[in-house]
Amino acid sequence: MDFLPTIITVLDSTIRLSIPLLLACLAGLYSERSGIFDIGLEGKMLAGAFAAGSAAFVFGSAWIGLGMAILVAVALALVHGFASITHRGNQIVSGVAINFIAAGATIILGQAWFAQGGRTPQVSGPGRFNAVELPGAAALRDVPVLGTIYADLLSGHTILVYLAFLTVPVTWWVLYRTRFGLRLRAVGENPAAVDTAGISVPWLRYRAVICTGILSGAAGAYLALAMNAGFVKDMTAGRGYIALAALIFAKWRPVPAMFACLLFGFLDALSIRLQGTPLPLVGRVPVQFMQALPYILTVILLAGFIGKAIPPRAGGVPYVKER
């Protein structure tokens, strides 16, 4: 077995599998940093994927699909905001509600509009995000090792992949180098202080959940239009929760979030690669164990056996202006 191509294949699928996690994870970061827990990432992603799949099929354009995905996910994020900011409802309950509404509505509407058992029709050509060749990839392919890595691993992904990785430094910059970011972090730690400074807590938090909506919509569009060729029911398959786990793993910071998502993506890629092949020492590992591994790891992680994750202090607590 040739070693380098195998590693490159696994790492290549690691990148592809970690992008939806990364976008969803950064989505959650904005909301949770502002003190609004968001367990509804899964639902927003799913609704976004459905909107992307339907719009891309109808209009034949992946970009319109992306736009619709963002629109729908922002709408759901605003529902979450309305419940948890304006009406000070329980944020977890609201997130659970959004997950169910999205899970049911995507199937019902998909069946009513396209009559294909809840999936949207296949899209192709400009309806999908297609692979982008980085400049010089073909020329450098023959350079040993580095050339292969450049041509086969870094080049040849869809534009959304590069945008997702670009979102990491952008998020870092927004969070730590802008006035908005400072206030966002402050409102997640001590909203009363932000309020005292004359800044509207609800408006700040609403802007945060809108950012969440945009990025989780993009995650959904990636699932439907880049990883697959259309929407399939329940296609998020728990990725929203894994993204949430990655966010906790990363202690609510953007750059570690990227590494956490890459790790979970790697586990996923590895489990696909290792299906059925016996491992040295342990023998054949059941597929189900590999599938459960990200969840098991998250539990171990959350238990604080690998560092301690401390959430934003005001997270999950509705802000009451005056009593």
Partner: protein
């Protein structure tokens, strides 16, 4: 707060506001039906007919309701302790494992009335143990119970697939399920109760675990409102600080509450596994664990509210199946939307209609008194 404070009469707090929330949830669901091009009113008529039209349908409605009473109680007990147990789905799934461990070994040995109590213990114990780990991690390591119970749902699903495919499936059988239970592993039906009222039932899975569910509902009421432990659970849920000050062991209460919750969720498995399918199948829970969240929120975490809420969701499940027959555009997934809307309006937005209602009741009452109450509320 700017809204005048008025203590609402009990019937408003426990009757009117939940009713308004529910009506709004169903109105929005009606809009979805309208959006897919069907008439919501005739859909509702088909649903009611499908749930209550014949004795057969009533039996099915109550069969589904049985499962939801268990999971609803499970979520409610955790709510009282200030914990959100999203893991009912996984705990019920593992509860099925507890059932078959008893039944597969004893179904040819003992009659059902011996096996049933043992299976109740098995299901409860299995569910409780599955809830124990997240509870322990929350109590001792501070990891968030919501996230861990979600993770445990996924782990339970993987574990059960593995066990059914590789361990429990008899040789030479294709479908991933256990062997069929002998007579001693099958619960007697309760269909004769409905037949007493003159209806005729060909076959329906309505079985004796319904009575167990009602007993569990009563048991939860006694536990939460009539025992010292229940008082401690409620104190912990209402104010962890006060509980600590009163010397109530926080870790102990979290673990006990979650184990009771897990046991109740686990017992849900008795209904489909021993009462209907008579074997353990993949995905036999079919979302009942999640329905429990909606049921508990709708029933305001009180058994007297949970039982009717569970029956309402039984109506939705049974009637929803009939709608899927008559209106091909509406599949059973409609229930998932309704479930989400109920959770949204009865849970997250439960206070949305409170300020206007309070203002209304304040304006009704004696002006001087309600002003005094307003000042009190602001203090």
């Amino acid at each position: 707060m700017s809204v005048p404070y008025a203590k609402l009469p009990r019937w408003v707090d426990y009757g009117l506001i939940p009713l308004i929330n529910l009506v709004v949830a169903f109105a929005v669901a009606g809009l979805v039906v309208l959006l897919v091009g069907e008439n919501p009113l005739s859909a509702a008529a088909i649903m009611i007919e499908g749930a209550f039209g014949r004795g057969q349908n009533i039996a099915y409605t109550l069969y589904y309701a049985t499962s939801f009473i268990f999971t609803g109680l499970a979520v409610a007990v955790a709510f009282h302790g200030g914990l959100f147990n999203i893991g009912g789905e996984g705990q019920a799934y593992i509860g099925g494992l507890g059932v078959v461990l008893v039944v597969l070994n004893l179904d040819a040995v003992f009659p059902w009335y011996v096996n049933f109590p043992l299976a109740v213990v098995g299901a409860g114990l299995a569910g409780a143990l599955w809830a124990l780990i997240p509870a322990y991690l929350q109590a001792k390591r501070g990891s968030h119970i919501v996230i861990t119970t979600i993770m445990f749902n996924f782990i339970a699903a993987s574990l059960m697939v593995y066990l059914l495919v590789d361990v429990l499936k008899p040789l030479g059988q294709m479908a991933p399920q256990t062997r069929a239970f002998a007579e001693g592993g099958q619960l007697p039906k309760l269909n004769w109760i409905i037949e007493l009222f003159g209806a005729r039932i060909r076959s329906a899975p309505f079985n004796i675990s319904f009575l167990l569910a009602l007993a569990a509902a009563f048991g939860v009421w006694v536990l939460i409102w009539r025992t010292k432990l229940g008082y401690e659970i409620r104190t912990q849920g209402f104010s962890p600080k006060a509980a600590r000050y009163a010397g109530i062991g926080e870790a102990r209460i979290i673990i006990i509450t979650m184990m009771i919750s897990g046991a109740l969720a686990g017992m849900m498995a008795l209904n489909p596994v021993m009462g209907d399918q008579n074997r353990l199948q993949l995905d036999f829970v079919t979302g009942a664990g999640f329905v429990g969240i909606a049921v508990a929120l709708m029933g305001r975490s009180h058994p007297a509210g949970i039982v009717p809420a569970a029956i309402l969701f039984g109506v939705l499940y049974q009637g929803g199946a009939e709608i899927a027959f008559e209106m091909p555009a509406i599949s059973r997934d409609m229930i998932v939307i309704i479930q989400g809307l109920v959770i949204l309006f009865a849970g997250a937005l439960e206070h949305m209609f409170r300020p206007p209602i309070q203002a209304f009741f304040a304006s009704l009452g004696n002006p001087a008194r309600s002003n005094g109450a307003a000042r009190e509320g602001q203090a």
